[in-house]
Amino acid sequence: MNEYTYPIVFGIMLGVIARMIMLRTDYRQYPTYLHGKIIHISLGFIAASLGAVAVPAIMELEFTAVTFLTLAATQFREVRNMERNTLNELDQLELVPRGKTYIEGIAISFEGRNYLVIFTALIGTLLYIVFNPYLAILGGVVALVLGKGLMSGSIIKDIVDIKQHDLHFDGAGLYVDTIYIMNIGLKERQEEILKYGMGFILTPKNMNVITTIGNLGQRQAILHDTAVSLGVFRDSGTPALTPLIKRDLDDGRIGVFILPQLRDVEKAIKVIGSVPVLESAIRMPSESKPIAKEEFE
């Protein structure tokens, strides 16, 4: 036991708590299994230890110890790779795949969360050593809240208006409002689709959003999340029953065609609205220098 024992233990505990808060199993169903959770809490523990030990190391004038943090960076990039590979493998067996963009988004956040854990543990230990335990607890809570805030991005509802539209056929062409979805040749399938399918039109609120929701990965994420939350009316060997999203080239609206098991319009609108906007899909043409910002308002 020395003067740093309590601060370090405190920092590690704070970091692990932060990791547990950020490790929630929600509708994304990942990670669902106990082993997955153990892996992430253990890695969170390592991250927290690194963050907590950094402060006493500096106080003891052991500046080289900070280079350990670079080791951490390498380690957690590995976590991202691990997540990406696992999810890619699993994705091939999904009825409605997540899509690469969504997977990358999940992998990025797994890496990012570990850095937040380091940061939280570091703050906790620093405040404990420099000031007192009470301030450290307060600072820790602030760091946890901040971490939680940093980790939640915007959702689809913030960037588009969602309206339900009936599906209809023009010859063999399936349409949601005026947006062409696909060609279904067989009468039987057409009847199934009219019976079980639902159509939604997502109208972008501004110019930036048009490119964002046009992104194929973002569209696949919408389909995946609705399939997870509402179920999906399809099986392997029925490629005609595939939920699809197509775009209106004129104004950037997208037409969502889904085949939910739970056919409730209100719920479906809520589910589509709460799909996360994927970091990698976000485009900001309004930030482009040659283009005046007013054009996009």
């Binding site: 063999a172 279904i184 040749g185 067989l186 009468k187 039987e188 399938r189 490629p239 005609a240 595939t242």
Partner: protein, 61 residues
């Protein structure tokens, strides 16, 4: 090169307007061709698309 899409079969009732390429199935009427297309769709895991009243293609996506 990996083919992303391919026409697996053609089902038609008008044999004067087709030749070559994919396997072709000639039917007598619309009902028969629909039934055949439905079967082919199930067997090949493709989608039956209708290009006109007397022509179906089964496409692998």
């Amino acid at each position: 090169m990996k083919l992303e899409k391919a026409i697996l079969a053609v089902v038609t009732t008008d044999k004067t307007r087709i030749s070559g390429g994919a396997p072709i199935f000639i039917c007598d009427n619309r009902n028969e061709s629909e039934a055949l297309a439905a079967n082919l769709e199930a067997i090949t895991d493709g989608i039956a698309h209708s290009l006109s009243d007397d022509l179906f293609i089964i496409v692998k996506h």
